[in-house]
C-alpha cells in the first residue's frame, strides 16, 4: 500500500514535470499568439496561461488517483455554471458585469481545457497525439494572422512546434512505460507521429472548410495575378516594385504612431495652405485616400460604397495620365466650391515608396497632374504629381487635438464658434442625411446610443456634441491617467466589427485609429450628425525650415472621421489618442525636392522640320494643355517652337539641339510667363484657344519620347521577370527544402545499407588480403539487422548457439579463426585465410535463403536496429 502511494506520487511528479509543464509552456505561446488575434482575450496571456496551468495541474493530480472523469467534470461544470449565474446576478454596473462575465468565461474555458488536457495526459494513451495536433493548428492560425510568410518566419513558427510534438509524443510514451520499456516503443513512437500528422491534416481540412475566407487571403498572397504582398496596416505592399498603396479594406494593423524603429518614408508633399495671409503659419491637412461610408452589419465590415450620395471622391490613377497633362473633375470642384470659406489649394506630392498608381490629396481634391522629377532627385523619388483641392478654411490637421499653442488655440476657437452656427441638419436632403447617419441595429449600437446620450446630454449644437464625444476619448480617470489608450496591439488585426468596437469602447479602452474612428463614427451618427470614415495619411508638421513641406511615413497611415456641416462641407475630425512616443521622437524630415516651375504650356506631338540656324522647329501638335486646361487635336496642328533656351532631355540624358532629328516625337514644356494670361473659359473651343497662343512658343524643356511601345514592353517584361523571380524564389526555396528533406530521409532510410556496403568494401573480399575484422563486422552487422542480435553472448557463443543453429552456417568455424587471428601470437595460415574468403559468400547465401526478400529488405532498413548495433551496452543495463 505504501509503495503504491509512493508510485502514484512519482507518477504525478513525472506527469507534472515532463508533460504538464512543457504543455503549459507551449500553450502559453499559443495563447500569446491567439491574444494578438482575438481582442476578447484582452492581451492577458499570462493570466490565461495560469488558468490553463491550474486546470491541467489539478486534473493531472486528481486523475492519477482512481477518480472518474465524467462525474467530477460534471461537478466542475455545475460549479462553474453556478459561479457564472452568481456573477451575472451581482448588482454591479452593467459594463462591469459584462466585463467580469467575459473574464469568467475566458477563465472557465481555459480551466476546462487545461482540465481535459490533464485528464488526457494521465489517462488517455494517445492524448499527446491530439494535443500536438491542436497546438500545430493553433500555430498555423498564428502564422496566418501574422502574414509573415518568409521562409525563416515559417521555420521559426513550425520548428518549435515540431520539436514539441516529437517531445510530447515521445515523453508521454516514456512516462507511461517508465517502469517497463516495451520493445516496440520506437514503432509506437513512429506510429504516433504519423497519427499526429494525420490528425493535423484532418483538422486543417475541417478548419479550412469552416474558415475558407481567411485562407483565401493567403492564397491571394501566393497568387501571382494579384501582385500584392501583405504589408503592415492600412498599406499594402506591391511585391514587384516594393511600393505601397492604400488597402481597399479596413484591415489595419496599428500603424499610426506605432513605434516602429525604421518606418519607411511614403511620400513628401507641399501644401500651399497657410493660416494667415503672410504665409508664415502653415496649415497642414490630412491626406485622403478613400472613404468608408457604409457599415455592413452582416459582415460587420466598413465598406466603400459605390453609390454614395454626393460623391466627392476624386478617384484617379496618376501613372495613367501623361506627364504634364491633367485630369480634372469639375463636378467635384463645383460641388465643393459651393460651400462657404473655401479656396483652391495647390499640393505637390513626391512619391518615395507610395505606388505611382496611388493618389492621395487633402479633401476635396479634383485635379491631378503628373509632373517630371528633376534628374538630381530621380534616385529619391519615384513619381510626382500636382493636385488641387477645394479646402475649407475650417479644415486643418491642427484642429484635431486641443492645441497648446495659443495662436492655434485661437484659430481652433474661431472654428468652433463658426461651426456653432450650425444648429441642425434640417436643410440637408433626406437621402443624404439618412445615408450618412445610417446605423446598424444591434445590442452594441443600443448601448452605444445610451452612452452617447449620456456623454452629450449637456451639448446642444452639433459641434458641442462633437467636442463632448472627443472629450470622452480624452477623459482621464481619478489618477490622471487617460482612460482611452492607443495601443499597437489591441487584438486581432482585422476589420473592427461591432463586437471588437464594443470591447474597445466598454472594456479595454485600448485601440488603434480604426477603433477610435469606428466608434466615433457610430457615436456621431447616433447623435444624428452625418459622418463618414476616412482612410489616408495623418499629416504632422515637424519641420520649421521648410514651411509647407510635410513628410509622410509608413506609420502615418491613418483612419479618422469626416463630419458634414451644411454650408461648410466635410471637415476632418480625429479622436484617436496620439501615441506619446510619436511626439517624443519625431521623424527627421529631409530636404524637400526642388519644386518645378508650373508648366504653363505642355504639348505632345512630332517634329516635322528642324531649323538649325535659328533653332526653331515645326511641330505637329497632337495634344496640349494650357494653364491646366487640356485640348486634344484630332488633326495635328502645326506650330513653331522657339528652342533657343530649351533643355532637351532624352530619358535622363541632356542632348544638344543638333542631336534632334525629324520625326522625333516628344513633349514640349514652356514656363513662359507671357502664357500666364491665357486663361480660357471652360467652354472656349480649342481652335480659339490655339489661336490665343503667341507664336513661336518659347520652349523651356523638350522631352524626347523614348520609343514608347518598346519602353512599355520593357516595363512589362521587367514586371514579368520580377514576378517570376519572386515566385520563383519562393518555389525554389520550397523545392530546395523538399529536396533536402527527401535526401535526408533517403539517407536515414538507406543508412543501414550504406554502412553494410561500407563494411563489405572494407572487408576486401575479392582481394587476396581479406580483412578478417571487417568480414566479422559485416557478418555481425548483417545478422544484427535481421534481428539476430549478439546481446550479451560472446561472439563464439553467439555463433554456435544462435547463428549456426538458425542459419546452418559455418559461422562458428569462422569465429574461431577470427579469434585466433585476433588474440593469438601465431596468426592464421593461408588455408584459413582462404576459408574466410569463401566463407562469407556461403554465409550470405544461406541467410538470404532463410528470409523472404521483402522481409529481408524491411528488416534491413530498420535504422533502430542499426542504432542498437552501435549502442548496445548490455553490460551496463540494470
Amino acid at each position: 500500500m505504501k509503495t503504491d502511494k509512493k508510485n502514484i506520487l512519482i507518477r504525478i511528479l513525472l506527469h507534472l514535470i515532463f508533460l504538464c509543464i512543457p504543455s503549459v509552456i507551449a500553450t502559453a505561446f499559443a495563447l500569446k499568439g491567439l491574444n494578438e488575434y482575438y481582442a476578447v482575450l484582452n492581451n492577458n496571456w499570462f493570466a490565461q496561461t495560469c488558468f490553463f496551468l491550474a486546470g491541467i495541474f489539478t486534473a493531472c493530480v486528481l486523475f492519477n488517483f482512481r477518480l472518474r472523469f465524467l462525474p467530477i467534470t460534471a461537478i466542475l461544470i455545475i460549479i462553474l455554471i453556478i459561479a457564472r449565474t452568481i456573477i451575472s446576478n451581482i448588482e454591479l454596473s452593467e459594463f462591469n458585469t459584462f466585463f467580469y462575465l467575459v473574464r469568467f468565461q475566458v477563465f472557465s474555458t481555459l480551466f476546462i481545457t487545461g482540465w481535459i488536457c490533464g485528464w488526457g495526459f494521465s489517462r488517455l494513451k494517445n492524448f499527446s497525439v491530439i494535443f500536438a495536433a491542436i497546438i500545430a493548428v493553433i500555430a498555423i492560425f498564428i502564422t496566418v494572422s501574422k502574414s509573415d510568410f518568409s521562409f525563416i518566419g515559417i521555420l521559426k513558427t513550425f520548428l518549435p512546434i515540431i520539436l514539441f510534438a516529437v517531445y510530447i509524443i515521445y515523453m508521454s510514451a516514456a512516462v507511461r512505460n517508465i517502469t517497463a520499456f516495451s520493445r516496440g516503443r520506437f514503432f509506437t513512437f513512429l506510429r504516433n507521429l504519423i497519427g499526429t500528422l494525420f490528425l493535423f491534416l484532418l483538422m486543417m481540412f475541417i478548419v479550412g472548410l469552416l474558415m475558407k475566407s481567411t485562407f483565401t487571403d493567403i492564397e491571394k498572397m501566393w497568387d501571382r495575378k494579384t501582385e500584392k504582398n501583405e504589408a503592415d496596416g492600412l498599406l499594402e505592399r506591391n511585391i514587384i516594385d516594393s511600393t505601397y498603396k492604400m488597402k481597399d479594406r479596413m484591415r489595419p494593423n496599428p500603424t499610426f504612431g506605432k513605434g516602429k524603429d525604421n518606418p519607411e518614408p511614403m511620400f513628401v508633399a507641399c501644401i500651399n495652405n497657410y493660416l494667415d495671409d503672410e504665409q508664415t503659419i502653415p496649415n497642414p491637412l490630412y491626406f485622403v485616400s478613400y472613404y468608408l461610408t457604409n457599415f455592413d452589419s452582416f459582415t460587420e465590415t466598413f465598406e466603400k460604397d459605390s453609390i454614395v450620395p454626393y460623391n466627392d471622391l476624386f478617384q484617379i490613377v496618376p501613372s495613367e495620365i501623361d506627364l504634364y497633362f491633367s485630369k480634372t473633375d469639375t463636378a467635384i470642384m463645383n460641388l465643393a466650391l459651393k460651400d462657404t470659406l473655401t479656396k483652391i489649394v495647390d499640393i505637390d506630392v513626391y512619391n518615395i515608396n507610395l505606388s505611382p498608381k496611388e493618389f492621395v490629396a487633402p479633401i476635396t481634391s479634383f485635379f491631378c497632374q503628373p509632373i517630371a522629377i528633376e534628374n538630381d532627385y530621380k534616385a529619391q523619388f519615384k513619381s510626382a504629381y500636382r493636385a488641387k483641392s477645394v479646402v475649407s478654411d475650417l479644415n486643418s490637421a491642427y484642429f484635431v487635438y486641443p492645441s497648446r499653442d495659443e495662436l492655434l488655440l485661437m484659430y481652433q476657437q474661431q472654428r468652433y464658434d463658426m461651426l456653432a452656427s450650425v444648429e441642425n441638419f434640417d436643410d440637408l436632403p433626406e437621402t443624404f442625411y439618412s445615408y450618412y447617419t445610417g446605423l446598424p441595429n444591434n445590442d452594441f449600437i443600443d448601448s452605444l446610443k445610451n452612452l452617447t446620450e449620456m456623454i452629450t446630454a449637456s451639448a446642444e449644437t452639433p459641434v458641442e456634441k462633437i467636442i463632448a464625444i472627443r472629450n470622452h476619448f480624452f477623459a482621464v480617470d481619478e489618477f490622471g491617467e487617460p482612460i482611452f489608450k492607443y495601443t499597437e496591439n489591441p487584438g486581432i488585426p482585422g476589420i473592427p466589427g461591432a463586437s471588437k468596437l464594443a470591447h474597445f469602447l466598454f472594456e479595454s479602452h485600448k485601440g488603434y485609429c480604426a477603433h477610435f474612428a469606428g466608434v466615433t463614427l457610430f457615436m456621431l451618427r447616433a447623435c444624428g450628425i452625418p459622418a463618414r470614415l476616412t482612410v489616408g495619411f495623418a499629416t504632422i508638421d515637424r519641420s520649421d525650415k521648410n514651411k509647407g513641406w510635410y513628410w509622410f511615413y509608413e506609420d502615418q497611415a491613418h483612419a479618422w472621421v469626416q463630419i458634414y456641416f451644411p454650408k461648410f462641407g466635410w471637415l476632418d475630425f480625429d479622436t484617436t489618442i496620439g501615441n506619446d512616443d510619436m511626439e517624443e521622437s519625431p521623424q527627421p524630415d529631409g530636404t524637400p525636392p526642388m519644386q518645378i516651375n508650373k508648366a504653363n504650356f505642355a504639348g505632345t506631338g512630332k517634329i516635322t522640320t528642324l531649323d538649325t540656324v535659328n533653332k526653331f522647329i515645326d511641330f505637329a501638335l497632337e495634344k496640349m494643355t494650357i494653364n491646366d486646361n487640356e485640348y486634344i487635336f484630332e488633326v495635328p496642328r502645326q506650330i513653331i517652337f522657339d528652342m533657343t533656351s530649351a533643355k532637351i532631355v532624352r530619358d535622363t540624358a541632356n542632348l544638344k539641339f543638333s542631336e534632334l532629328s525629324d520625326n522625333d516625337s516628344g513633349l514640349s514644356l514652356s514656363f513662359d510667363e507671357t502664357l500666364d494670361d491665357i486663361k480660357p473659359a471652360i467652354n472656349t473651343p480649342k481652335d480659339e484657344v490655339f489661336e490665343m497662343i503667341p507664336k513661336p512658343v518659347k520652349i523651356d524643356e523638350f522631352r524626347i519620347d523614348v520609343d514608347k511601345e518598346n519602353k512599355k514592353e520593357d516595363d512589362k517584361s521587367k514586371v514579368d521577370s520580377n514576378l517570376q523571380k519572386s515566385s520563383k524564389n519562393k518555389i525554389s526555396i520550397l523545392f530546395i527544402c523538399v529536396i533536402i528533406f527527401v535526401v535526408i530521409l533517403i539517407l536515414i532510410i538507406a543508412l543501414p545499407y550504406i554502412i553494410f556496403k561500407y563494411y563489405k568494401y572494407k572487408a576486401k573480399l575479392k582481394s587476396q588480403n581479406v580483412n578478417i575484422f571487417y568480414v566479422y563486422k559485416t557478418s555481425m552487422f548483417l545478422l544484427n539487422q535481421l534481428h539476430c542480435e549478439r546481446k550479451n553472448l560472446t561472439p563464439l557463443q553467439f555463433a554456435s548457439t544462435v547463428t549456426d543453429k538458425k542459419y546452418e552456417t559455418e559461422f562458428e568455424k569462422f569465429i574461431i579463426i577470427y579469434l585466433q587471428f585476433k588474440y593469438s601470437n601465431t596468426g592464421i595460415t593461408a588455408d584459413e585465410r582462404n576459408f574466410v574468403k569463401d566463407f562469407y559468400y556461403n554465409f550470405e547465401n544461406k541467410i538470404h535463403k532463410k528470409h523472404r526478400k521483402i522481409e529481408m529488405i524491411k528488416r534491413f532498413l530498420n535504422i533502430k536496429q542499426t542504432l542498437k548495433f552501435y549502442t548496445n551496452n548490455y553490460g551496463t543495463a540494470k
Partner: protein, 334 residues
C-alpha cells in the same frame, strides 16, 4: 621459414599435450555424466597449480567427481601413479590427523615424524566446513605454502599437490564456514548443479554401473605428464587486450559502490593462470573472451564481499558483459 616450421612443431606438440587433457576429461566423463564444462574447469585448476572448492547440495556428485579425477591421475596400488588421499572432515578432527605427528621410535630412541595424509598428490577434503578452524587453517596454510612446519622442522609437500575440497551449504549447525580470506586460497569455487532431465534419466538407467565404473577407472596420466602439462600451460599466449580486460574487471569491482571487499591483485593473477589453463584445456594456444566469460564467476565471485543480494547477482556479470562487448567490438590487427 625455419621459424614457421618451429611454431608448427610447437603447435603439433601442444596438440599432443592437449590430447592428454582430453583423454583425462573423457576418462572422468565415463563416470560423471553431463558435467563436462565443470570437469574442464577443475582440470584447468589442476593445470594452473591451484586448488578447487566444490560447493553444492548433497548428492550432486562432488565426492564422486573428486574421486574419479584422483583415480584418473593417481592410483594407490601403483608406484608410478600419484598418491590420492581422502579425509572426511569432522568437528573433532585435529590438525595432527592431517599433517601427521612425531612419535617415539623405540629402536632409534628418538622421535620420528609420521607423515599425515597431507603428504600426497591429490587430496580430497570432504566437507571442509565441518572441521574446526584450527584444522581448516592447517590445511589452508599447507595449500598456500606447499609445505608443512612442525616445530623447528619444515617438510616440503609433493611437487604436485592438488586439493579438491567440498562443502555443504545446507547444514549450518556444527559447521565452521570458511572466511573469505581463506576462500581466497581456492582458485575456483564451483557448484556442480543438477544435471538436465535427459542426463538424469540416463544416470538412473545406469546407476548400477557407477560403482563398477569407479572401480575400473584407469589412470591415464602420470605425475610426469601432469608436470609437463603444467609447464605447457605457462606458454599460452595472452593478448594485451585480454590482460586489459582482466584488469578492468578487477578494478571494476574496486570502483563499485556495492562492493565491500573488491578483488585483490592476487585474484587477478589467479584469474590469469586459470584463463591460460582453460585455454589450454580447450585446445587453444591463446586466450579468448569466452574464457573470461566462462571463468569469471567461478574464479572471482567467492573473493568479493557484496553489500546486498542484488549486487551479488549482478555486479560481476555486468562487468564481464561490458568487457565482452568491448572485446567483441574491438578491432585488432596483428
Amino acid at each position: 621459414m625455419e621459424q614457421q616450421n618451429e611454431t608448427i612443431e610447437q603447435i603439433k606438440q601442444q596438440s599432443h599435450e592437449t590430447g592428454k587433457t582430453q583423454l583425462l576429461i573423457d576418462n572422468i566423463e565415463t563416470v560423471i555424466k553431463g558435467k563436462r564444462s565443470k570437469i574442464e574447469m577443475i582440470v584447468s585448476v589442476l593445470l594452473a597449480r591451484g586448488h578447487v572448492l566444490l560447493e553444492d547440495n548433497p548428492g550432486t556428485g562432488k565426492t564422486l567427481l573428486a574421486r574419479t579425477l584422483a583415480q584418473s591421475i593417481a592410483a594407490n596400488d601403483t608406484k608410478k601413479g600419484l598418491q590420492f588421499k581422502r579425509i572426511q572432515f569432522t568437528p573433532d578432527l585435529l590438525p595432527m590427523d592431517l599433517i601427521g605427528s612425531h612419535i617415539f621410535d623405540d629402536s632409534k630412541k628418538d622421535f620420528i615424524f609420521k607423515k599425515g595424509p597431507l603428504f600426497c598428490n591429490v587430496l580430497l577434503a570432504d566437507e571442509i566446513n565441518r572441521a574446526s578452524p584450527k584444522v581448516q587453517s592447517a590445511l589452508l596454510e599447507s595449500m598456500a605454502e606447499n609445505q608443512i612446519s612442525i616445530g623447528d622442522l619444515t617438510y616440503k609437500l609433493q611437487d604436485l599437490f592438488f586439493v579438491v575440497a567440498t562443502q555443504n551449504p545446507v547444514e549450518i549447525e556444527g559447521t565452521y564456514p570458511l572466511p573469505e580470506a581463506q576462500l581466497d586460497r581456492f582458485f575456483m569455487k564451483l557448484s556442480l548443479d543438477y544435471v538436465d532431465d535427459e542426463t538424469e534419466a540416463d544416470i538412473y538407467r545406469n546407476y548400477l554401473k557407477i560403482d563398477e565404473n569407479l572401480q575400473t577407472v584407469k589412470q591415464v596420466l602420470t605425475l610426469k605428464d601432469i608436470l609437463e602439462l603444467q609447464a605447457e600451460v605457462d606458454k599460452i599466449y595472452v593478448h594485451d587486450e585480454i590482460i586489459s580486460s582482466v584488469r578492468n574487471i578487477v578494478t571494476g569491482t574496486r570502483n563499485d559502490t556495492n562492493v565491500l571487499l573488491p578483488c585483490s591483485t592476487r585474484s587477478g593473477i589467479i584469474f590469469m593462470k586459470c584463463l591460460k589453463a582453460f585455454a589450454f584445456v580447450n585446445n587453444r594456444t591463446f586466450v579468448i573472451e569466452d574464457d573470461i566469460k566462462t571463468l569469471a564467476q567461478a574464479v572471482l565471485h567467492h573473493r568479493i564481499i557484496f553489500k546486498n543480494n542484488d549486487a551479488r547477482k549482478k555486479t560481476l556479470s555486468n562487468l564481464v558483459d561490458k568487457e565482452i562487448t568491448r572485446l567483441a567490438k574491438l578491432k585488432i590487427n596483428n
